[in-house]
Amino acid sequence: MTNFVNSLGIILFATLVYSTPLLYGALGSCFSEVSGVVNIGIEGMMTAGAFTGTVVAYFTGNPWIGFLCGGLAGAFFGMLHAVATVNLGADQTIAGTAINMLGPGIVIMLAKVLFNSTDTIPLSASQKMPKLFAGTFDTSTVFGRFMDNVFATYASTYLVFVAVLIVWFVFYKTRFGLRLRACGEHPQACETLGINVIAMRFACVCISGFLSGLGGACVTMALSTQFRPISIVGQGFIAIAAVIFGKFRPQGALLGCLLFGFCSGLKVVLGGSSGVNMHLISMIPYVVTVIVLVLFVGKSRVPAANGKPYIKAK
C-alpha cells in the first residue's frame, strides 16, 4: 500500500512535470490555429525559448528573467512566422518548416560560439525554476510524502495551469477571444465588421511563439538542468498533436497533454521497476494517444479558415 501510494505520487509528479512544457506549447498552438494560422514551427520556437531562457538565467542568475526571455525569444520566431504567413500570405506549412530549422540552427550556433564549442549549458540550483511548497509537507508520513511528491513542484507548472485558465477565459469570455475565434472561422466577416484580421492574426501568432518559448524554457529550466541541442526533441509536435486531440480548445489540449504526461509518468515508474523493455515502455504514450483517438475522440473540427492565407483587397 505504501509502495503504491509512493508510486502514485511519483507518477502524478512526473505527469505534471512532463505535461508542463507540452501545455505551454499547446496553448501557443491554440492561439495560432484558432486564429486561422497553421503553426508547425512550435518545435523551433520551443528550442529558441529553451536556449534563451537557459542562457539568460545562466548570466543573470535569475530564473524568472530567463524564463521571460525564453518566451520573448519564442515570440521573435513567432513574429517571423507571422510576417511570412499573415503579412505576405506564405504557405503556412513551408514557413513553419523554415522556423523549425532556423530556431535550432541559430541558437545552437550561438551556443557554440558563446560557450566555446560546447553546446551544453548547465544551470545551478539557484538558476533553475524554483519549486513551490518545498518542505511544506511532512515527508515522514506516507500521506505527507505523497503530497510532497505531487505538490512540491516547479513554479512553472503552477503557472501553466493558471495560464490554461486565463487562455480559456480569454477565448470564451472576452472580446479579444470572440474576435480571435471569428478570425479563424470567417476572416471576411470580421473584415466587414471593422475587425483588423491581419493585426489579430499577427498578434495571435506572436503570442503563440511567446507561450511556446516559455514551454521550451521549462524543459531546460525545470524538467532538466541544462540546455543541450537535443533538449527539445519532438515536444513541439506533441503539443500540436495535443491541440488536434483536444479539438482546438485549450481545455481539450489540457486533457491531451495530461494524458501524454501521465503515460510518460507511467514510463518513469515502470521503467525503473518492471522487467519490461524500456523502449517498449517508451512507446506507450504514443500508442495510447492513437488508441484514445480511435476509441473516444475521432474527427476533430478544424477552424474553417485554418491554413488559408487571408489576403486583404486593396
Binding site: 508547425i40 517571423l80 510576417v83 511570412a84 504567413t85 505576405l88 500570405g89 506564405a90 504557405d91 506549412t93 513551408i94 514557413a95 518548416t97 523554415a98 522556423i99 523549425n100 530549422m101 532556423l102 530556431g103 535550432p104 540552427g105 541559430i106 545552437i108 550556433m109 550561438l110 557554440k112 560560439v113 564549442s117 553546446d119 537535443i230 526533441v233 519532438g234 509536435f237 506533441i238 500540436i240 498533436a241 488536434i244 486531440f245 523493455n277 523502449h279 517498449l280 517508451s282 512507446m283 504514443y286 500508442v287 494517444t289 492513437v290 483517438l293 480511435v294 475522440v297 475521432g298 474527427k299 476533430s300 478544424v302 489576403i311 483587397a313 486593396k314
Partner: protein, 369 residues
Amino acid sequence: MTKKKGFLDLISENRFIHILLSILLGFVVGAIFLAVMGLSVGAAYGRLINSVTSLKGFSYVVVYAVPYIVAGLSVAFSFKTGVFNIGAEGQFVVGSMAAVVTSIFGASLPKPLLIPLCFLAAMAAGAIWGVIVGVLKTKWGINEVLSMIMFNWIAFYLSNFIAGIPAIKNEGTAEATKNIADNASLLFSKDFIKSTGLAPTANWGFIAAIVATVLIWFIIEKTTLGYELKAVGSNKFAAEYGGISVNRSILTALAISGALAGLAGALQVMGMGKRISIFTSQEGFGFAGIVVALIGCSNPFGVLAAGMFYGALMYGGSKLNLEGVPTQLINVIVGTVVFFIAISVIFANLKRLKGRAAVKKSDAKEEKK
C-alpha cells in the same frame, strides 16, 4: 521595353529563379551570421566549396544525397497528391530496420537476390507505416498529421527495441545492430574505390535514386494513376464527383510515399550506414525529405537537384568545424532558403514594387475577393 524591365519580368515569373534567389539569400544570411559572430566568412564558405568540389568530395556528396533524394521524392509525391507526409521520418526508420533485419536473416543468399529482397522489405515496411495512418484517416477521420507524429515516435522506439533483440544486436557493442550482410551491401568494390580515389562509402545507391526519380515523374505525369492521385490532391470533391475513389487514392498515395521513404532508409543503411544505432533522438532524414521536396518544388527532377544540394551542404557542413565554425550554420542557411521559398511571392511582387509594369488581369481577380 527596357532591358531592366525584361529582367524583372524574368524574376517575377520564373519559379526556378525564385528558388535560386532564395538559395542566394540563404548564403547571404549565413554570411551575416558568421560576420556577427566574428567568424571568417571566406574561410567557412571556402571550406564548404573546397570540400565538395574534389572528386572524393563529390562522391561523398552523392553518397549523402541518395537518401535525401529518395526521402524528398516521398514527401514530394505526397504533396502532389494532397497529403502532407510528415510521417516520412517514421517510414524511413522502419524501412532501414526492415532492410537490416532482412539482410541478417538472409545473409546466405546471393547478392542479386538479397539486395532486391532488402529493398522490397524496406518498401513494404514503409508502405505499411504509411497505410496505417491512411486507414486511421479514411476509416475514423483521424487527422493524419497527428497520427504521423505519433507513428514517427512509435517507429523510433520500435527500431530501438528491435536493435536490442539478441538475434539482431551486435554482440561487441550494446548500442547498435549487427552490420548488414556483405551480400546486401551496395558499396563499390574496395579495389575500385582504391583505384579511383572515391569516398570509402561510395556505392551504387545513386542508381536507385535516379531510377526512383524517373519512375515517380512518370507515374505523376504520364499515368492514369498519377491523374487520379493529382485530381484527389487538388480537389477531392470534383475527383469523387468524377468517379474516383478518394479513400482508395489516399491509401495508394500514402503507400507509395511510405514505400519511397522506406526505400530511402534501405539505401542509407545498405550504402553508407551499415548498421542502425540505438537512437537518442530522431535522425531527421524524413524531415530533411520535407525540406528537399520544398526546395525541389515537389517536381521529381527538382527534388533530384535539391537532394544533391542538401547532400552537399550536409557533407560540406560536417567539415566546417575544421574552421571553428559550428555545423549548425547549415541549418541556418537551409532554414533561410526555405523561409524565402515560403515568401517567394515577394519576388513575384518585385515588379509591382517598382511600379512599372501593369499587373496581370488574373492578379486583379485575386484581389477582387
